[in-house]
């Protein structure tokens, strides 16, 4: 409650103002749908710039949204079901490592850690929400190495910008800030393979498990396909190559997406994205976008993309726009599609917008917790 002349606490008021602003500047870096038995979208896991990983129940968000219409808050301040203070810096990615009953929730962040929690421990939580944070110990904690420079100076810990998984071989692939991708063994917690070759830090990584390959996108403007057995780069995709005519526009590969059959690849660089057919190694199309794409995902034969504008754009495989849906975050960093077709867009402002398969907004909430 705000103060008045009868009980004025200036510091508390200032604190609340700053807190409000902090919430506004928070960014959701990744949203992931939790595996559900019913096949309906039940809960969503959100990794945000304050290093927190929190799961929200869609059903309760929707119900609160409806009952809370007369409220003064225009946006729903959602309370998470489970809250983990996962990382010291921003948390960049969350993934579910599906291993039967023993599903793991993996996250990586700016502090160079990859941590894993047992998902059923998170769902069966009994602790009240205000006590949560570090109440569940991660079952797994992998950390990137620091480099020693001249005279033994330690470099900053490289961050992990994205992770990918291979459940069959039990490995986790991470796109690290030291321009290398790593393959971690889940059992031993050791690095199995280092993929070295990019000249700037990695933004994104996807695993192509059918042929045991990974694909990485980097700040240096290229994407590479690697063979996991040998650790060698099989193919260098340089979207900017054909585009040299563009006047000196430096761009990086900020996101890549692979379809379910693992044969189509979408790769965004700067203000355009290109589609490749992997089996044929063919360049299919190139599409210019108004803003730089920050996350893409395949949904059936279509590509959903979000960028630095408040729109969720649906492209077909040739890159023509099928639809644009207004979404809440002004700059979206993440789009996640549930098998049922429900999409979640997360981005600047700590906002998560859940959009149904028909394009209507199921609920929009911001992660206010802490």
């Amino acid at each position: 409650m705000l103060g008045d002349a009868t009980n004025w606490d200036e510091d508390a008021y200032r604190e609340s103002l700053y807190k409000e602003r902090e919430v506004q500047t928070r960014t959701v870096f990744r949203t992931a749908w939790a595996p559900s038995l019913s096949g309906c979208p039940e809960s969503i896991v959100v990794a945000s710039s304050d290093g927190s990983i929190a799961s929200y129940s869609i059903a309760s968000c929707i119900s609160k949204l409806h009952s809370g219409y007369g409220n003064t808050k225009s946006l729903l301040a959602a309370e998470p079901h489970c809250f983990l203070q996962g990382h010291d810096g921003p948390a960049y990615d969350v993934k579910f490592f599906d291993a039967g009953d023993n599903t793991l929730l993996l996250s990586c962040g700016d502090d160079g850690h990859i941590r894993g929690w047992r998902w059923n421990e998170c769902t069966d939580i009994e602790v009240p929400i205000y006590l949560q944070g570090s109440h569940i110990e991660p079952v797994m904690d992998l950390m990137n190495l620091q480099y020693k420079g001249p005279w033994g100076a330690l470099s900053p810990i490289p961050e992990n910008n994205a992770i990918a998984t291979n459940t069959q071989s039990g490995s986790i692939f991470s796109a690290a800030g030291d321009s290398c991708a790593y393959c971690w063994d889940l059992e031993s917690g050791k690095i199995k393979m280092v993929f070295k070759g990019h000249s700037d830090y990695l933004h994104c990584i996807v695993a192509r498990n059918t042929v045991n390959q990974i694909i990485t996108g980097s700040e240096d403007g290229t994407a590479r396909i690697w063979d996991c057995k040998t650790g060698k780069c099989i193919q260098l995709i340089d979207p900017a190559k054909d585009n040299k005519k563009q006047k000196g526009n430096f761009s990086c590969v900020r996101c890549i997406a692979l379809d379910a059959s693992e044969s189509w690849l979408a790769c965004a660089d700067g203000r355009s994205f290109s589609v490749w057919n992997l089996p044929a190694s063919d360049f299919i199309s190139r599409t210019l976008t108004r803003s730089s794409m920050q996350d893409m995902v395949f949904c059936d034969n279509q590509i959903l993309g979000v960028g630095a504008e408040p729109l969720l754009t649906r492209f077909d495989i040739h890159g023509s726009i099928l639809s644009e849906i207004q979404c809440a975050p002004q700059s979206a960093f993440s789009v996640a599609v549930h098998p049922s077709g429900v999409a979640a867009v997360g981005g600047y402002g700590g906002l998560v917008d859940v959009i149904s398969q028909f394009g209507s907004h199921l609920c929009t909430f911001f992660c206010q917790y802490r």
Binding site: L2, G3, D4, A5, T6, N7, W8, R14, L17, Y18, R21, T25, F29, S49, D50, H66, Y69, G70, N71, T72, S74, G89, D110, D111, G149, P156, P158, E159, N161, G177, D178, S179, S199, Y201, H203, E219, G248, F250, R254, G270, R271, R290, S292, Q294, G307, A308, E309, R314, S323, E324, I325, Q326, A328, Q330, S331, Y348, S356, F358, G359, S360
Partner: protein, 818 residues
């Protein structure tokens, strides 16, 4: 027959007592009777037997004579018995008379005896009067009584004599006392006379003193002792309505107890105030007539003796009319003026910061505050939002809202407004809502009321309301002065100069040029309490704006959209509005015009009635005005569409009070880069709210590239979006935590300097990275093994390609690694 009778008689005779004189020589008549009877019986038996045997009747003759003889003796015996009886009777009669006489004598004697006994008892029961008389004790009597009483002998019985003596003594004493009482009465009467004389003298004294006081006034003014003025103020204070009195007394107490650097003054005429109070009392008593009130006014003691008041007297009549007809805005004739001085300067005469005028709208029972002598618009009114959510546009409490009902406008014309903090200062929260005289009359219920007030006042003091408000006012005024200073310097397009040197941007030398600084507008409530009609109009320009910035015309987008979701979204709101019945539109427009002026309090009421009739279509309206509704929710999809459409507008409504009185400025800084030759323009929209510096200015950044040859601005927003947001976060939030508290009033300057430094840094980095690209330096990141033998420190990091900024020695904000 005969025989039978005889027989019966005989039987009777036999039962008679036997003769007692049987032993005596003479045969008793009874025996004679018995003998004759038996002989008769014998003869009868003989006669019977003769008759039976049939013997000759001669014998019978003999027998009959015998029998007659016997009968004669029988009769003789009978007569002698009767005679005897008579004799006994007469004897008894003779004996009875003496017996009767003695009985009578006995009774007489008994009666006499009881009479004497009664008389004795009555004598014994007789009570004397003397036990009721309180007498002095015997010892005392012997000690004190005069000799002649002691020696007098009235009776032979010594005890009785003593008693008589004591009674005499008592009588003597009482007579003495009566005499004394008479004397004292006399004395009292004479004293009363003296007192009356002296009173007469006293009543004539005030007029003397008054003339003396009048004579002393010039001397007082000369010597600077404003005793009279102070007295007058106190006298005026007594006429203040309770809320103003609380303000006055509490401020005075604060000033005297803590040496607060403030001055208080009550202005207004005593006459008017008295008339007002009387009028109020009369009206409540239900007997208010013009004649009476004017008479009362004449009765008012003539205590106004300085010329100023006298000059005001002709105004009296209109003032009275005001009282009658001013309606709900009726202002109490007395007002308090509060001067607040700077408390930090050590000079004896410190600078005056503010003068506030408190007035009381007695009908509404609210306190209004304005800045004395200022007629600036509400946007410049620095009293608003002194505390959160206090624009002063709405009435502070419910009862007032009920009284007003419709036509309230604390419009821009009024310079004094009912801020909530003013009500808190006046203690309206615990004062009873009654005019002063009435509450004074009701002494019965007055006790509880008084105790309420006492506890309320102690709470008031505990909460330090006066101190809090004065502190806030001072800091607000100082901040505003500092702000004006900063704005002036920016107006002249000079970079602000910072006096604090332990923040990195203070020592930074600006290399951008400050190209523009302009006031964009006021974000007043007029704009924010949008009506529905304008909502979409506002939205659309926004859209155009956004698209325009990204350099793609609207037509292109529409083409690309086909029949996708977004157009449907935008049109859905307009469809909703169009679907509203047309009669709604016109009243709506009028209403909304009013609504912008009228306080929010009224909105729900007017809106509610409409809501009942057009509940479905008013869905949007409802959202905007934040009315609680229990209406059925429409279909989910429709809702979802509404939801997004209403997000921005709803947001605005929610923040109305925060925006109230805030100003928006536009700052433009440009920077030329050599490679590639570009002219970058950073535009910052700065919203400075009334709560500055508590709520720091809010920056919204846009970046443009100016192509020198085409001279056309091109938005670079989407490329730079994340960098701009990071800069915003840094300027709006993170650097605030690093600022020392004494620099608070100069937050704006700090923010601008910091922004310039960040902008500079960003551009340098950008040009460096593009350079790098061009010259095809292959460099590795971090300190990992170089691919081509050169070491380069990273400048970007993370998925949002954040610049790695670290402030030396200062802890970073969470989420931003150092």
């Amino acid at each position: 027959m005969d025989e039978e009778i005889e027989e019966g008689m005989l039987i009777e005779d036999e039962t008679e007592p036997p003769p007692q004189e049987s032993e005596t020589g003479k045969i008793s008549p009874y025996e004679m009777l018995r003998e004759s009877k038996s002989s008769v019986e014998e003869i009868v038996t003989k006669m019977l037997s003769i008759k039976k045997h049939g013997e000759p009747k001669t014998q019978l003759r003999e027998l009959v004579t015998q029998m007659f003889l016997h009968f004669v003796t029988l009769r003789q015996a009978n007569r002698s018995i009767l005679l005897e009886e008579d004799r006994v009777k007469a004897e008894t009669e003779r004996a009875k008379a003496p017996v009767d006489f003695t009985t009578l004598q006995l009774n007489n004697l008994m009666y006499e005896k009881s009479h004497y006994v009664k008389a004795i008892k009555a004598c014994k029961d007789f009570k004397s009067k003397y036990p009721d008389i309180e007498l002095v004790s015997e010892d005392e009597f012997f000690r004190d009584a005069p000799e002649d009483i002691k020696n007098s002998i009235r009776s032979k019985d010594s005890a009785h004599n003593l008693m008589l003596q004591r009674l005499d003594y008592e009588l003597f004493q009482r007579k003495e006392l009566c005499k004394r009482r008479d004397e004292l009465e006399q004395h009292k009467k004479s004293l009363l006379e003296v007192i009356a004389n002296r009173k007469k003298f006293l009543s004539s004294l005030p007029s003397h003193l008054k003339s003396l006081k009048k004579a002393s006034l010039p001397v007082q003014n000369q010597l600077g002792m404003l005793q009279t003025k102070k007295l007058k103020q106190h006298q005026l204070a007594e006429l203040l309505p309770p809320p103003l009195y609380v303000i006055y007394s509490q401020f005075l107490a604060q000033k005297e107890a803590f040496g607060e650097n403030i001055e208080l003054e009550i202005v207004g005429s005593v006459k008017d105030a008295q008339a007002f109070a009387r009028h109020q009392a009369n009206k409540d008593a239900g007997a208010s007539t013009n004649v009476e009130s004017s008479k009362l006014e004449d009765d008012a003691p003539d205590e106004d003796d300085d010329g100023q008041r006298r000059r005001k007297r002709p105004k009296k009549i209109p003032a009275k009319v005001n009282i009658e007809h001013a309606g709900i805005y009726q202002v109490h004739p007395l007002k308090i003026i509060l001067h607040i001085y700077d408390n930090e300067t050590c000079e004896p005469k410190s600078m005056k910061l503010l003068s506030l005028k408190f007035e009381c709208l007695s009908k509404l029972n609210i306190i209004c505050v304005g800045i004395e002598g200022s007629h600036e618009g509400p946007e410049n009114n620095i009293l608003c939002n002194l505390f959160p959510d206090d624009t002063g546009l709405e009435l502070p409490h419910q009862s007032a809202k009920l009284v007003v009902r419709e036509t309230l406008s604390f419009s821009d014309k009024r310079t004094s407004r009912p801020y909530k903090w003013a009500q808190h200062l006046a203690g309206i929260d615990f004062l009873p809502e009654l005019p002063p005289l009435v509450s004074a009359q009701e002494s019965a219920s007055g006790e509880t009321v008084r105790s309420d007030i006492v506890s309320g006042l102690s709470m008031y003091r505990q909460q330090n309301r006066i101190q809090t408000v004065v502190q806030r006012l001072r800091s607000r005024k100082k901040a505003q002065l500092a702000l004006v200073e900063q704005l002036d310097s920016l107006e002249k397009l000079k970079w602000p100069v910072l006096t604090c040197d332990n923040v990195p941007w203070a020592s930074h030398k600006p290399s951008c040029s400050l190209q523009g600084w302009s006031l964009v507008g006021y974000a007043t409530s007029q704009e924010s309490s949008l009506n529905i009609m304008e909502k979409e109009k506002v939205r659309d320009p926004l859209d155009v704006d956004m698209l325009g910035k990204s350099g793609i015309s609207r037509e292109d987008i529409d083409g690309a959209r086909e029949d996708g979701e977004l157009p449907a979204l935008v049109s859905s709101t307009s469809i909703l509005d169009n679907a509203q019945p047309t009669p709604l539109r016109t009243p709506n427009l009028e209403h909304s015009k009013q609504l912008t002026l009228i306080s929010k309090s009224i909105t729900p009421q007017t809106n509610y009635s409409r809501m009942l009739s057009f509940s479905k279509h008013d869905e949007d309206y409802e959202l905007m005005l934040d009315v609680d509704s229990d209406q059925d929710e429409p279909m989910q999809t429709e809702l979802a569409a509404d939801d997004v459409a209403s997000i921005p507008s709803n947001d605005i409504t929610r923040k109305t009070w925060m925006d109230y009185g805030s100003k928006e400025y536009c700052l433009v800084m440009t920077r030329n880069t050599d490679s590639p030759a570009k002219n970058l323009k950073l535009q910052a929209k700065i919203k400075i709210s009334m709560e500055y510096p508590l709520r720091p200015p809010f920056f919204t950044l846009n970046l443009y590239t100016i192509n020198s040859e085409e001279n056309r601005d091109e938005s670079d927003d989407s490329d730079w979006y994340n960098e701009l947001r990071a800069m915003e976060a840094e300027v709006n939030l993170h650097i605030l935590n690093m600022l020392p508290l004494d620099q608070e009033n100069y937050i704006l300057s700090h923010q601008i300097c910091c922004l310039e430094m960040l902008f500079n840094y960003c551009i340098n980095e950008a040009s460096r990275s593009s350079e790098r690209k061009k010259s095809s330096f292959v460099i590795d990141v971090g300190l990992c093994k170089p691919v081509s033998g050169s070491i380069h420190a990273r400048s970007f990091r993370g998925r949002d390609r954040r610049k790695m900024i670290s402030w030396k020695d200062i802890e970073c904000a969470p989420g931003y690694p150092c």
